[in-house]
Every structure is written in C-alpha cells, then in structure tokens.
Amino acid sequence: MWRFSVFGENTAVIDEMGRQYSYARLEAEGALLVNSAKISRCLVFCMCTNEIGSLLGYVTFVNNRIVPVMLDKNLDRELLAALIENYKPDFLWLPSVNVGEFPGLDAVYSTWGYTLGKTRYANAFPLYDKLALLLTTSGSTGSPKLVRQSYANIKSNTEAIARFLELDETERPVTTMPMSYTYGLSIINSHLHVGASIILTQKTLMEKEFWRQFKDYEATSFGGVPYIYEMLDKLRFFRMDLPSLRTMTQAGGKLSPDLHKKFAEYADKAGKHFVVMYGQTEATARMSYLPYQKSLEKYGSMGIAIPGGRLSLIDIDGSEISAPDVVGELIYKGDNVTLGYAESGADLIKGDERGGVLVTGDMAKRDADGYYYIVGRKKRFLKIFGSRVNLDEIERMVKLAFPDLDCACGGVDDKMNVFVTNASLRKNVLKFLTDKTGFNHIAFNVVDVREIPRNDSGKILYNKLNEIE
C-alpha cells in the first residue's frame, strides 16, 4: 500500500514524547514484527490508540496483506467479546498493558508498547482476496456490522485526498481523532502516501499538552468533526497564534452554516485553508470536498465530488434529478466505494457487492453552480461527536438490559433523546448508555414518558415523541 523505502529518512511519526521515527525505521520494525511472529494473511483485531505501536501494527498489517479490524482501545469489553466470538480473529494487536485482560491470549511479539497476542482461532473464516481492512459502522454500540474495504479502495481514496488537499512531504498533521475512525485513518493514510510527518497525540484540544505539541512540532493541519469545531470556537481559537497551521479540514457530520462561515472567514483573513468535506466509511472515507477558495462563498455546502468520483441525486422513482435546488437522495460513484458489509466471519469471503455505486442514505440538493448541500437523512441514525449511532440499535440495547421498560430514541446530532417508560430507572439507563457507548453523558437526554406512542400495528410514532421533547 505504502512505499516507505521511497521516503527513507523522512520523519514518518513524531509521538507525544517528541520521539521521531523515520519511514525506514517503520519499515524495518514492521519487517521484524512480521518475521518474528511468522504472521501472514489472516484476521487481526487492532485495539487502536494514537500511539506509535498502534500505527506500526496498522501499516505493517495492511502492507503485508494481513487484514486488520480497527477498533477503539476502550471499546466496552462485553461488546468486544461478542465481536471476537463473531469474527474469530487469529490475533489481537493491543497495548501491552491491556494483555492481562485477555486470559488465554498468547503473547507472541511485543514492540513499542504493543503486543501481538495469538487467540485460540486459526484462519477460522476464508478471506476474500481483495479484502484489505474492516471498519465498524457504529463502533460504539458494538454492532457486528463491518465495512469491507479493498486495497484498491484505500489506494484510490488516499490518492484522491492527497491530490485535492495538495499534500506533500512538508505537511505535519496532528491527530485529533482515533485511528479506528475512518476520518482519522484517512488522514494517516494520505499523509503516509506523500512522505509527510504525522504528529501522534492522545491529548485532546482541551489540554495544554495538545497545544504544546502543536506548537513545538509545528503542526500544519488538523481535521475535526462538527463538535471539534464547536470546541475550537469555545476556546477562542480565532485569537490563537498558530503560524505553522496551513489547513483545517472538517467532516463527520454537517457543520452548522454559522460555524462554517465563521471558520471560512477566519481562514480567509489568516491566510489558512478551510476545507469542508463529506464522506462515509462505506466510501472508504471521502466523497466530496468544498475547495477552500469557495469555502466562504458557498458556506453550508459539502462541495463537489473528489477527483475520480461522481455525485448525483435521484428522486423517489430512482431517476436522476437534473434541475438545480431539488432535493433527492445522494448517489456516489467511484473506485473508493467499498465492497459491502460483513455481519459475521462467514461474510469475509464475499466479493464486491456494490460495483462502485453507493446509495448514501443522505438527502441533498445541488445549486446551479454544481455544489451539493446535505439537507437530511433517510435512515434512523444520528451522528454523536462524529460517530454514527443507529437509533434502533440503541433501543434494542436498552430494552435488552432493562426488560421492564419500553424505549424509543430520537433527537438530533450530538443530542439523542432516549424516551423510557420507567422514571425510576432514568439514571440507570443514562449510566448504561454512557458505559456502553463511551460517549459523554451530555450526548443523551433520557426522558421519562408514560408510554411510547404506537400506531395500531405497533409501529412507534416518532413524530409524536419529538413533540413531547
């Protein structure tokens, strides 16, 4: 996937301690890992952090045709156990400090704070030849549904991103999102592709240490979901002196037009680039971008298709809409459209089910100049701090854990309404949700209601519920 030898002594990674690792070193350390552990094409669960060990595992596996499933290190352990049972990975690649939590795991190799642990499974399921990587669709709920990405998908999307963002080896992005999240991963992919230096940090924007690293290592760019931009606004970001910063990208949900405008104005004045983008894990990562030159003029827009891709809109009958300003479902075509989903290990042999066409489930319109605007969503999910959360799955989880109550979910991005019919369990439900999903409690508004309104056939009347709230 990446040709590290081309970039040799370029710094690939700068970690929190300021240690620098060259491309040559990354390649050599990866070869040691593969040769010592005698590992070849198989399935590995990667418990991701923004640390050098995590990155080493990921790039080494992909470069050696070993298929990683990217998961957050802190994924709820019950949910993780269910995923392991379902997919039966050959190995876990995890922080060495966490090895003790997995009895029966046989540590076969350790380096840079990470350990490769052999599970009791060996090639439990055959893998489709072009399958490169698996990512969760809704990681926080432990849904077994994974997106199957091919080598060609990653390569195509990586090259397109490097091109439209005009990346070169002088770039130094600082991480603001986990590696298990497709947007965070795409930043790593595209920068390794051009020989740039990635500043890895586990720190958040709300910590002094983050900004110290930003300044000391002269970060040139960062990406953020809408919530990160709200935080930056709150942090009086516009008053900060960040001479090394060149580019800010935004994806992972629709930024409010006001905030889009505010950041576009700042970028315009400060001589920075602000690039709003749109994507989905199902399209590897990116599908569209709003060129920075248009950021202010077209604020609120998700832009145009990335190089090599094509966007269109279809009406309810499936015919393409050609007139401007008409809302339809957004369709994307391109080489980065992934193979399809897996629901269990047996699906890992499946080939390409989409043929390069993705029906996004997002409703959008296009203006007369060809710029697209997201206006809504077809499916029942919300984005919470950039991550997709399926509302039906949350309802199912709550009802399973609390058999004595009825539950229905609704709300808007970053604020989920969870209606429950047992007031005395309100706090328990909230704790259950934050424990399971790992989201801050502020994301949930647990409301007690007398009953969940349903129609005669038992379907929940969500419109009625939203009136209650």
Binding site: M206, E207, K208, F210, M240, T434, H441
Partner: protein, 78 residues
C-alpha cells in the same frame, strides 16, 4: 448563593456529581469530565459568573482546586 455554591453547582450539574466528590475532581478523573464535559463545564462557569475566559485559562482548568485560582483572575473570589 455564594460564589462557592455557584462554583460547586456548575460542577455538580455538569458532571451529575455528588457534593463530597467535588473537591477531588480532576480532568479525566471521571468519564464525564472528558473534553466534551470540559466544554460544558466552562460554559456553565462562564454563565454562572458572567465572564469570558481566555484560551490559556480554559486549557489550564485541570481540577476543581485549580479552577478556583484561575477564576481569581476574573475577579471571582471563591
């Protein structure tokens, strides 16, 4: 309500924490005080005391105790 009461209330409301927990609270010492919780806390304090904090003070605001010192700069004695 005294300044201390207002200060405590901002923490208690944001993190749904009990009174006896408050004095020992530090950034990331509980799941609720993560970066998202931090933003909510700052918003609650700014509203309670009608102040606008500087970036450096927001990112320096690392514990219940430390916060008291920081608010002195904004003429809020706790």
């Amino acid at each position: 309500m005294s300044n201390l009461d207002k200060y405590k209330k901002a923490f208690a409301d944001t993190f749904e924490a009990e009174e006896e927990q408050l004095a020992n609270l530090e950034y990331q010492s509980i799941p609720k005080w993560d970066s998202v919780g931090h933003m909510a806390l700052i918003a609650a304090l700014e509203e309670a005391f009608d102040i606008m904090m500087d970036t450096d003070d927001i990112i320096d605001f690392s514990s219940f105790e430390k916060g008291k010192e920081i608010l002195k700069k904004y003429d809020v004695a706790i």
